[in-house]
């Protein structure tokens, strides 16, 4: 095999003088830091803007009609707080508002195990309809051409036009979301899975079920906080 690794052999035995080495490394270090920091400074605004646009696009997609958004987080003890930026381990909820500043719905991040790796999705919840009104896959490594149908298959995406997650008298979800075999959807809380991508579509359903069971009651209880968010007028 003609396979060359860069030679890492020790150099010839010459009495090493440390000053040139330090000088070289320090010089290169300074040069490099300068380069990196200036690039960072140069590109940061564009990157932040693009990231934001990307996220907004997703939010408006799962919350049809929304034109502005506001970010909240749900603390582990069930409180809703305003939040900006990104932080690990934070359950983010985006409130989407229409032109009049009315709450259209909430875009909620959910994640769970897919077929190959972790799936990350964003779904839109309408408090008015007590239903999921949109879903988008944010991150997936599902098998191309098969598992990735959950991002493209129109029949499958149609499940999320109005997926029932209404609460019962105990403020818990009445009918947890369930996946059913393709073509047998009979109830508004069922997800019609994809033939040939059963596993991935079921994974989506399971992630949604688990996430809605946990969060929808919390969200509904604190609905006022999200609506207030718009009144405070802190636009997008």
């Amino acid at each position: 095999m003609n396979h060359h690794h860069p030679t890492l052999n020790p150099p010839a035995a010459e009495p090493p003088s440390s000053w040139p080495m330090i000088r070289a490394l320090a010089g290169i270090g300074i040069l490099c830091s300068l380069l990196i920091v200036s690039t960072w400074q140069l590109t940061l605004p564009t990157i932040t803007k693009k990231k934001n646009e990307y996220l907004e696009k997703a939010i408006y997609q799962v919350l049809p009609g929304a034109t502005s958004k506001k970010t909240f987080k749900i603390t582990p003890d069930g409180k809703i707080e305003q939040f900006e930026g990104e932080e690990r381990g934070v359950q983010r909820v985006f409130a989407g508002y229409d032109d009049q500043g009315r709450l259209v719905g909430l875009a909620i991040e959910a994640r769970g195990q897919g077929f190959q790796d972790v799936l990350k999705i964003l779904y839109g919840f309408s408090p008015e309809k007590q239903a999921i009104i949109g879903m988008r896959v944010l991150e997936s490594k599902e098998t191309p051409g098969l598992g990735d149908k959950i991002e493209k298959d129109p029949d499958f995406l149609a499940n999320f036009k109005e997926l029932d997650v209404s609460l019962d008298e105990n403020a818990q979800i009445r009918n947890p979301i369930v996946p059913v075999k393709h073509g047998t959807k009979a109830n508004p809380w069922e997800i019609d899975s994809i033939t040939g991508a059963t596993i991935s579509s079921k994974a989506v359903a399971n992630i949604l079920r688990e996430n809605t069971l946990r969060l929808i009651p919390v969200v509904m209880k604190n609905l006022q906080a999200f609506e207030d968010g718009s009144l405070a007028g802190n636009g997008p």
Binding site: H4, H5, L8, M21, K50, T143, P144, G145
Partner: protein
Amino acid sequence: MNTDPAHLSTNEFIKGLWRENPIFVQVLGMCPALAVTNSVINAIAMGLATTFVLIMSSMLVSSLRSFIPRQVRIASYILIIATFVTVAEYFIQAISIELHKNLGAFIALIVVNCLILGRAEAFASKNTIWPAFLDAAGMGLGFTFALICLGGVRELIGNGTLLGYMIFSENYQPWIVMILPGGGFFSLGAWLLLFNWMKSRKERLNLAAENSR
């Protein structure tokens, strides 16, 4: 032997494209060659990013070659390469978030692409800036070319498209395996087979020519 300097520099440039092609001949930098070649656009992006890093770091290494003592050269090269990779990464992110997502960690992994360190060590550290640039550009373009070859085959067969344009009819049944990891191995293997075959054919022809002489 042609010792004309112009010819020599062309030679520095051309050799990386074909005769010493980093992937098909030297079998270097396989990780990105396999990982991001499931579409042509990814292949081009990866190829150009690598070329950028290769050219920049080669030139810097070449210009600093008298300044860097032997003992710390590898460390210095890695520092330089890592810097340019970071730069490339931010630029790609600024150009397109989607592309950055598709290439994922493999942009950052250009740092450990043996090709770059290899060129810095084997060529740039021993030559002046201009040959170093030509060498890096040739190698980088050769690398990009190989990536496109791979990406082209994989996207065409695995998705029926090239650069996103449908090549076959709408009804083409794609061979999904080609865009899966397995397909990466198969297509690179197949390209190497092709190169082996051409090489053996050339050797045979040369032999025949020598015998008839």
